[in-house]
């Protein structure tokens, strides 16, 4: 069965590829004609072609304009095909569990390439360095930089830099020299390669590819220190490799005879200038981005775009100045991430995050597929057994030697040394990838006669490392029992303790009289706090900078989410209504607080209590359990009750979907006055209930839980205005209607008189928010009938309900307990709920008996 399934998959893939091919071959012809006419294959020159066509004799209705769009069309099509390959590969996890995705993508590239070859008898598509370095690589680098775990990166920066700089130079030099030595020894027969060319080749092979490394290491969850060293190294050494490559390329162009000591010194100087200059450009752009995002508040929609544009510009600027573009973009991403995340709106931050992932992952896929396609080309296959095998061997061996030696030295200065098996994985993770290939294609055929041999060798090395080492990586990690990354839940205490450790370590270092890492870290933090943060961060965002507070915020968000999910899973948010636990707690707190702060009014205390209870993890789940049994019986009753209340107290909202088509404002019905109105109502109700509490009625518990909810909501709202009005208003509705219920009940109004008494007291200033300004005056209809009216859109239940759900009564009924939970133990709850659903407005049921006064149970 499994084989059948796999076979079908394969067939699908084939079919799809054929689909791509039929167009591709067509394109190939156009491509050929283009090249014949001397236009560049990758540059778009077909644009004006159509207009120079022969003069028309009659007006054509429809014309075939393939030439207009051929290039764009093919680009889009190729992207689609590559992504479909990924889709197919990821469809079946039994394969990707053993073989890394990158290897599979290369293999699907082989198949696609084979088909193109079969159709065209030549390779019409291959990864050109221009496309690779200017269109595919930047977003990957930017993504890696932007999502770099900063603290880990900087803690291990020393090791990373040593591996990236010295290790790469070692790899390049050793490979070049060894190959040259073997060449001299006659191991490869007759090849026209000199020492400098070998070194050039060595330098392009030295790069450990971040794309390949990330693709493999992502799936093998090794411990984070190991990961960051391998990954950071691979990222930075790309920059180093490109620099080395350029230096050696210049040497090759100069020719062996003209290289003297001065030129070599210049080469070394240029190496450092290019590397550090690139990093500086990146830092400058990072600061620019941070500054920009400080003031993009009013153009929130395109705010995320700045990150991408500026990141790309940092790449291009560095390239323009012939500095290291990869390093530039990396540092730009690393530097700006913190400030960008703090400055920008929450939703923009999310957008950046996901868009970056889309771009990076997308182009990664394209790169791997094209690495496979490029292989199917007769031209580049020049076989030289000695050269290829020796290269493979040397790369492998020297990588091991280099890593072990450098890490052995580094370990003497590390607090926690890297273990031996970790070093094995580090060495084994030296995967070569597209950067090496891109550089190999960049080689100048006039200067290097054996260019094709080098490309071919590079490809073989890439395949060998990505496919073979990639596949064996996971078993190796298992077999060596490498420490894996633990999935840890963030805990507040842990964060706190971490922070305390940091402080303690600085102090202890100071006391014991040594200047170590912690000292510098604290100095840096001071510097950052004093200069960088005020400059680069919005004042409002600075507060969130605190780690502990940030974690607290995240945990609360998570809780709130779980809370709702849990509630919805069990069909209702009714468990919110369990007050006993909260009440206990609140009471305790109350007493505590009245001792400490005697002059704070009780409702404030309630607020505190609510705030604290929010931290109580067990409460929602516990109360959920306790409530489960009663829930069913209560729900029906509550639905009626809720509708009744909603109908009475929800204002009519008129301007939903106001900005449905606006490009610049995606919020639905955000109205300041509306919010203000809700706030006023809520406050008034609270005051009322406070008064009633003073008069001897027990404090309304609903308010406690309601403010609890509010607290949970407050943080995200306060933090970001990004929350669409959708949720916003929904919660506000919930909030204030509940407030009403509390006040209404506690002041023991009969429920249907509430409407009448309510309005004057509530002080609604804006007629737009009057609950019943509708021509079909709702007052005419007895309030308990309101739920039958709901589907006639008389009353806005909430935006969410209106937007999200079809307005059927049954839906609303289900929804009601979600929105609102009142203490519905009264007799109003009716036995004829099923009837109420089918009821029409003309089929009025007998009015239910008035709600009994509530205070008997509560005073």
């Amino acid at each position: 069965m499994a084989t059948l399934w796999r076979f079908t998959l394969f067939l699908c893939m084939l079919l799809m590829a054929c689909g791509g091919l039929s167009l591709a071959s067509e394109e190939a012809e156009t491509r050929n004609t283009q090249t014949e006419t001397g236009t560049g294959s990758s540059s778009n020159t077909t644009g004006g072609g159509g207009h120079e066509a022969a003069p028309i004799t009659t007006l054509p209705i429809v014309t075939w304009k393939w030439h207009h769009i051929s290039v764009q069309y093919l680009v889009a099509l190729w992207i689609l095909v590559c992504w479909l390959c990924k889709l197919i590969i990821e469809a079946n996890h039994s394969v990707t569990n053993y073989i890394p995705e990158s290897a599979l993508l290369i293999c699907s590239g082989f198949i696609l390439g084979g088909m193109i070859w079969g159709a065209d008898k030549m390779q019409t598509f291959s990864l050109s360095p221009t496309v690779f370095f200017y269109f595919l690589l930047p977003q990957i680098i930017l993504d890696s930089g932007y999502h770099m775990p900063n603290k880990l990166f900087f803690t291990n920066l020393g090791a990373i830099l040593i591996h990236a700089v010295i290790g790469t130079c070692w790899n390049a030099a050793s490979l070049g020299l060894s190959l040259w030595g073997c060449h001299m020894g006659g191991a490869m027969g007759d090849l026209d390669i000199g020492l400098l060319q070998y070194l050039l080749f060595g330098s392009l092979m030295a790069a450990v590819d971040p794309v390949a490394v990330l693709a493999v290491f992502d799936q093998v969850h090794v411990n984070e220190v190991l990961f960051i060293i391998v990954f950071g190294e691979s990222l930075l050494n790309d920059g180093v490799t490109v620099v080395l490559f350029n230096v050696f390329d210049a040497f090759v162009s100069l020719g062996g005879g003209r290289i003297n000591a001065a030129e070599i010194v210049k080469g070394i100087v240029s190496f450092f200038v290019v590397a550090f200059g690139g990093s500086l450009v990146g830092i400058a752009f990072g600061i620019l981005i941070a500054l920009l995002t400080r003031c993009t508040k009013n153009i929130q929609i395109i705010e995320p775009g700045f990150i991408f544009v500026m990141g790309y510009l940092s790449y291009l600027t560095a390239e323009m100045l012939s500095l290291s573009a990869i390093l530039s973009t990396t540092f730009c991403g690393v530097l700006c991430q913190k400030y960008v995340r703090a400055n920008m709106d929450e939703s923009s931050v999310q957008t950046v995050k996901y868009a970056m992932k889309v771009f990076a992952n997308g182009s990664e896929t394209i790169i791997f597929v094209f690495l496979g396609i490029s292989a199917i080309d007769k031209v580049i296959w020049v076989w030289n057994t000695g050269f290829i095998l020796l290269t493979l061997l040397f790369i492998f061996v020297y990588r091991f030697i280099g890593v072990f030696f450098l890490q052995w030295i580094l370990n003497r200065y590390r607090l926690v040394p890297i273990e031996l098996i970790d070093m094995v994985i580090m060495s084994y993770g030296g995967l070569r990838g597209a950067v090496a290939y891109g550089l190999a294609v960049l080689l100048d055929e006039n200067k290097i006669k054996e260019k094709n041999l080098m490309i071919c060798t590079t490809l073989i090395v890439v395949y060998f490392t990505v496919i073979l080492q990639g596949i064996t990586m996971k078993p190796l990690v298992m077999w060596l029992k490498v420490k894996r990354a633990e999935v840890t839940e963030v805990s507040l205490l842990e964060k706190m303790t971490n922070k305390m450790f940091n402080h303690t370590l600085v102090a202890i270092e100071d006391i014991s009289g040594q200047i170590g890492d912690n000292y510098f870290r604290s100095k840096w933090r001071h510097f950052e706090e004093k200069w960088m943060t005020p400059l680069l961060m919005k004042p409002s965002a600075r507060k969130k900078q605190d780690e502990v507070f940030d974690v607290f915020h995240q945990l609360n968000l998570k809780d709130a989410m779980e809370y709702v999910t849990e509630g919805e899973r069990s069909g209702s948010l009714e468990f919110v209504r369990n007050d006993s636990a909260i009440l206990d707690f609140k009471k305790k707190l109350e007493s505590e607080y009245t001792e400490v702060l005697p002059d704070i009014p009780p409702y404030m205390i309630n607020n505190h209590g609510a705030m604290f209870t929010m931290g109580r993890d067990p409460i929602p789940s516990v109360s959920l359990e306790m409530h489960e049994q009663t829930m069913k019986a209560m729900r029906e009753a509550e639905a009626v009750d809720a509708h009744h209340l909603l109908d009475q107290h929800l204002y009519k909202s008129r301007k939903q979907y106001r900005h449905g088509f606006s490009r610049s404002d995606f919020k639905i019905n955000r109205d300041e006055k509306e919010v203000q109105e809700i706030f006023q109502r809520t406050m008034r109700n609270r005051l009322e209930s406070f008064k009633s509490a003073k008069m001897g009625v027990s404090p309304p518990k609903t308010i406690v839980k309601h403010s609890k909810k509010e607290q949970q909501e407050k943080i995200p709202n306060g933090k970001s205005m990004s929350k669409t009005k959708l949720c916003h208003s929904g919660d506000e509705d919930f909030e204030f209607s509940e407030g009403d219920s509390a006040s209404g009940y506690d002041s023991s109004y009969p429920s249907f008189s509430m409407r009448a008494t309510y309005r004057p007291g509530a002080g609604i200033e804006n007629p737009a928010f009057m609950p019943d300004l509708d021509p079909m005056d709702l007052l005419q209809i007895p309030p308990w009938l309101a739920e039958s009216e709901l589907d006639s859109s008389m009353v806005a239940l909430s935006h969410r309900a209106q937007v999200g759900l079809p307005r059927t009564p049954s839906n609303l009924r289900r929804l009601a307990p979600l929105r609102i939970s009142t203490r519905s133990t009264d007799s109003f709850t009716l036995e004829n709920i099923p009837d109420t659903q089918q009821m029409d407005s003309d089929q009025l049921p007998p009015p239910p008996p008035p709600r009994p006064p509530r205070d008997d149970g509560y005073v």
């Binding site: 805990s491 040594q514 604290f612 929010m614």
Partner: protein, 167 residues
Amino acid sequence: MGSSSSSRNKIPNAQELMDQTGFSSAHLLRLYDRFECLDRDNRGYLRQDTVDFSSFVRILAHFRPTDRNRNKEGTQQELPNSRTRKLKFAFQLYDLDRDGKISREELLQVLRAMLGLQVTEEQLQSIAERAIQEADLDKDDAISFDEFKKSLEKVDIDTKMSIGFLK
């Protein structure tokens, strides 16, 4: 070597300290110099005569990195840089009144000192509350050492509570 062993003699019960803390004699010497430097009045004590050299070293010994391949001869007594001792030290930093429990008030004090002015008092309180909730298993509204240890189970204490002592 001769000079170091001679200056080692001026350190009171050096051998015992080395056994107890796991510091090498070079470490000890260095710390002794530091101690003398801190001890401006040359009384042999720091902080109003409460900390003498051996307690100074014993405290610092908590921050010695754990050495992986130490031979097992020192197992008869737990060195101060063991995981539990490190945790205990951290715990005592919270436990201001030494009653073996971190109360909310104590947590709050530590938080107040750490978070500074950016966070309001209410937020601090809710943070403290939440932190206690996380760790508090027996629901006594305080964190005992066992609970503390358990909640920090996954934290790499060895790394986070160590500094590199110069030789």
